[in-house]
Symmetry: D2
Subunit: 385 residues, 4 copies
């Protein structure tokens, strides 16, 4: 096992959701130590979170600015290597930029930024500093998603013809944001979430998953975006027809008002020679559907998987791994990149199997294009990077 990296966290106070997910993902494989944090814009809340997490009080900061400044002045073997950013979307760009500029590698929850402009600007900082930035598009961390990607890459599906990707949730079927639900409040608030509601929160995941598995970029979108819950300020339901490179077509469906649905992101890809299907509710299975012969149940943890899938599994088949492990797989890949960077071997994020700043820009442009298309009376709107 290689060097344990020290990290500081921006956001993730005790009542947040995704911050604790990041902490568990980072902890699972013992490759990261949480040693610092600016856990909240409220210094008091930050302090209490730091205490609860057993962080040295001297390294629980009142603001991320303070954290960047103070940590960068610590001796090299003491200070943090990495900053993990888990704030709402409108507080992504500033701390990420600042972290990079202070020499820290960055891992950041998606979407990359509040706006596409911010995302593009952030890419410049990444390029200028040469540091590592990873974006936690969780679902591409699942081993069977990686296996699906490998199937496509190896040509088992032949030329891709049709893609269905969906992400139905039901938790926003009622106006939770009016009942003080913290998760609902910022996600439905354009001041904190950005231009997209469901399309930003989960639509970007769906688009990223489809592009990751197929290896094809979406080129055109024909979208219908709705706000189904009265009074809501952002979209909560969307669907789009898609065109991909190379003549593939597809459908994207995301909803946060699909009453009763949990979180079942699912992708189906059909090529000339076979189809594959993966869904989070049966996360350790990839269904492989060849043109001839029976469907096969490809399972995580088995010996017949690709190296990539095997490297992203911790236990033998039948020991279910889930969401936190998928998340941790991104942390592990990011860890490798940072360690390589520290030893001078790092060249580019694209050499590693984690979503990077380019994926982040794609996600922001996806949101913009969905909105533009939905407003347009013309059928197809191109995605312009």
């Amino acid at each position: 096992m290689s060097k344990k990296l020290k990290y500081g966290m921006v956001g993730g106070s005790l009542d947040a959701f995704i911050g604790e997910v990041h902490r568990k993902a980072a902890a699972l494989d013992s490759k990261f130590s949480l040693v610092a944090g600016a856990f909240s814009s409220s210094p008091d809340k930050s302090k209490k979170t730091g205490e609860a997490l057993g962080i040295d009080p001297n390294r629980t900061y009142g603001s991320y600015k303070e954290m960047m400044e103070k940590e960068s002045q610590l001796p090299e073997d003491e200070r943090i290597d990495v900053v993990s950013i888990v704030t709402p979307n409108h507080v992504h760009f500033d701390p990420a930029k600042m972290a990079l500029e202070h020499g820290f590698h960055v891992i950041i929850d998606k979407p990359l930024a509040f706006s596409t402009q911010e995302a593009r600007d952030l890419k410049e900082v990444v390029d200028d500093t040469g540091l590592v930035l990873a974006l936690t598009h969780t679902y591409t961390g699942y081993p069977m998603v990686k296996e699906a990607k490998e199937y496509v890459r190896e040509g088992k599906l032949g030329k891709i013809r049709q893609v269905y990707v969906e992400y139905p949730q039901g938790w926003l079927s009622v106006p939770l944001e009016e009942e003080g639900n913290k998760q609902a409040s910022w996600r439905t608030d354009p001041e904190r979430s950005g231009a997209g509601g469901s399309i930003g929160d989960i639509g970007t995941h769906a688009a990223n998953l489809a592009e990751y598995v197929t290896g094809l970029n979406i080129t055109h979108i024909c979208a219908d975006i709705n706000t189904k819950v009265e009074g809501r300020k952002l979209d909560d339901n969307a669907a789009a027809l898609l065109k991909f490179e190379d003549g593939a077509t597809g459908v994207l469906m995301v909803s946060q008002i699909a009453t009763g649905e949990e979180n079942d992101i699912k992708v189906r890809v059909y090529g000339e020679k076979a189809g594959v299907e993966w869904k989070q509710s049966d996360q350790n299975t990839l269904l492989y559907k060849p043109l001839e012969g029976p469907h096969q149940i490809i399972r995580a943890g088995t010996g017949y998987l690709s190296d990539l899938a095997q490297a992203n599994t911790r236990t033998p088949a039948g020991h279910p791994e889930g969401y936190l492990e998928a998340f941790a797989n991104i942390y592990v890949a990011f860890h490798q990149a940072v360690v390589d960077h520290q030893s001078g071997e790092y060249k580019s994020a694209s050499d590693y199997d984690f979503p990077d700043v380019v994926d982040g820009i794609r996600g922001m442009v996806f949101v913009d294009t969905m909105i533009e298309s939905s407003k347009s009376e013309t059928k197809w709107t191109p995605i312009e990077l």
Copy 2:
């Protein structure tokens, strides 16, 4: 059990698929006797089919015209009551019209006709003769589809917000029509199938299912239709964004090049208060997903179902019924209408739970609108009945 009806069949020679399905569906509940037939445009083939089916050779006819004429001259208690039409689409209108004009009730495989004009003309004949015409949109014959409809009707879902309907098949992933496959040949031939390929063959089923369950008509379509297999003359893949009455939106996906897929038509409907999900691969289950509390597995054959669902099941829960039973349910409902007609109690097809000539016109207009929308650069195309 009420009177057994006598029927003659148009089409359905021994090498056809859907003719034998109709025969089994008609036979299952012992409500119909097959006593006559014009099973093929080839008199020899017709004769051989009649022999194999044990039909009186005098009533195996060389053409449907002959059947109509000769049967109508038989004494009332001998001649057929009903004509079942199971030919390819281009031979739907003529025999249906002729049957009605000779006083026979008609049950006809979908789509109703070769063109929308034919469909409209046929409605006039139905209206003029006052006879019964049923269309075998099989999937609405499933008891759990009926239960879904009842859930919507009773308000268990509240106002409908979003609908997903899909019908993925993979059997046309290769150009079977070039290999002499009879089923593939006529379905991909515009001269026999009409303007629609996959959208006519299975898209009409999907649209009909969505409208049946929700009780809402589709009002606008934004479609993308493709022909993925080179050289094929009709579409084999399509997707559409949908608008329904009352503000509901939806997505329709049909494909015959979804490699490896069998025949898994599926519908999901989400309302303000709950969602429901049904799919043919688990045909005896309706998933009910309320806003609060656990999902429920609603099962065919149980005592807690609606009267409508119970009336369309033959066995207790756990004794799987399937496609042929769903098909037979349409025959049973049609039987009741005909018997009522014979006793003077029949008023309108809409009093019975089977697809009728109006559904048939809707299906034809759906196909036209899909094609028009796909060619249009404007996003939304209205459905104009």
Copy 3:
């Protein structure tokens, strides 16, 4: 299609369950015509049933004795070919014997008889008359059960090591027999059901399924039989350890007090080279689990199946067939045997793929041995045919 056979039914009045199942199974493929019946021990009920079924009133008889006598005096081309016996267990032997002695072939619901002695006696009558007798152990009629059998026969599993067979039902979790439920009443009454409750009603199905698929006979039983519902006169729950020929071992579980369970008979067989799994709740799937490589989802209606499985399916993959079709498959096989008998080509029931009188005796001995074992303090009780 070969000759349509005429049959008369014993039992199966309108309020019975299995009689109507037999009628639908016989009707589905248009190979049988119901032309006579003694549908109830109450002549009035019999008459009403005959009327409802559209039977010639002259051939609706007040007793099965009358039916046998009168039918056998009809001209050969008018009289019934076959008697279908669907009465409770205590009225199996007499009508079966009488039917055979009057020259009629017999198809009979399981179990074969009220007692093992009756079953043995009936075999003698079958042997003496040389007529065809089929027993409707429904579950072996499923195409994927037949495919499982073929997998074993072809050696795909290697030597069989372990078998699990289970049949959990919940409908007798409460004393329905005290509430006037007709199905519960006779099944829990030793005067009508025989020595076994759940072990006779469904245990015989489970044992038959295990033996059919493996091709191995059960040789020893170690059983625990219980009556869980207070006051019930017969067993409603049982389990047994099994020894098969050739060193295979197994477990059999049957229950009618498995609260909430429907009817999910399931068999799993493990050999040196692979395992297979089939269950009625997913009746068109056989899971094939080889030693190496992914599990395969073997599906009814596909082109890669054995001839035997293909011959027992009516529709392409994805068009679910179920319980009635499985039942009908037994009628079809029986039809072939009778037709062969009539043309002089029939030799032995074992040449056909339907359960026969020998399977019936095995079922009765199974029940006896289960009871004997359950009472014994010794672990293993041999099955003695």
Copy 4:
């Protein structure tokens, strides 16, 4: 979050399986720090493992004896609080006893010891020292297993009637132990594994799961134990009829030669009022099957769960948690007990929801009784604690 505990590990070198599972489970929730270890009986291997794990070389010990002695001499705030024992079964008792005698709390992989005598002796040490000992029967760590237990405890099932528990694996279908597979070698070696093969390795899990969920002890066993792979020294397949307290009966099935099976431990419990079903392959679901009305799909992470189940879940419904999280749940409960012990509030392991030394003894006695029963010609063998 409360105090982070320091622990040392016995066993768990880099090529072991369960040691790494323990490390990840301990790390996930940031409640434990691995600071010491005697990772192998080979000091060199231990040293290399310690290096790879980033352990202070001074605290990577050549033997567990050395670890206990040296650690106990460190200052209280430096030395380990807890010892985690992950060695093969024959090296459980000695390090556990030694750890307790040096004042360390113990968490130990199952089975508790090599023999029942060792297990009983260990209980005495636990009683004498008053320290905390937890046993990692993983499956009871799953939130939906806990929910099942709560359903039974709250009376939702009524009086329990029938229990089915099964644990089928296929990985030992071939003699892997002859091919140098480390996991297979010690598990099939009576010198390292103890008297039981499959019954010890996985049978104890199955028995523990059944007893945990029902709250009922198994009182009598009627077992059939086999060794199906020629030349194997321990059993690889077993089944048993069970009697529980209070008149419940059951069946236990375990196999390591169920070819193709992964690791799908499953339990079904049927009471007078309802049944429940849980299986590891769908670990976040509990099926609840009431006497009347539809089955319910009870899901981890939902708001309607019991406090116990909610406390053992980290993410909202639809974010799958798995085996490592279930394992971690045991570590979390153990952590609470140790922290309480350190603050003087600990009374008894039975106040916490983790398997303890009494469960460990039950497991050992289960193995002994299975073996005794299998050898016996008498049907029932009592479990004598």
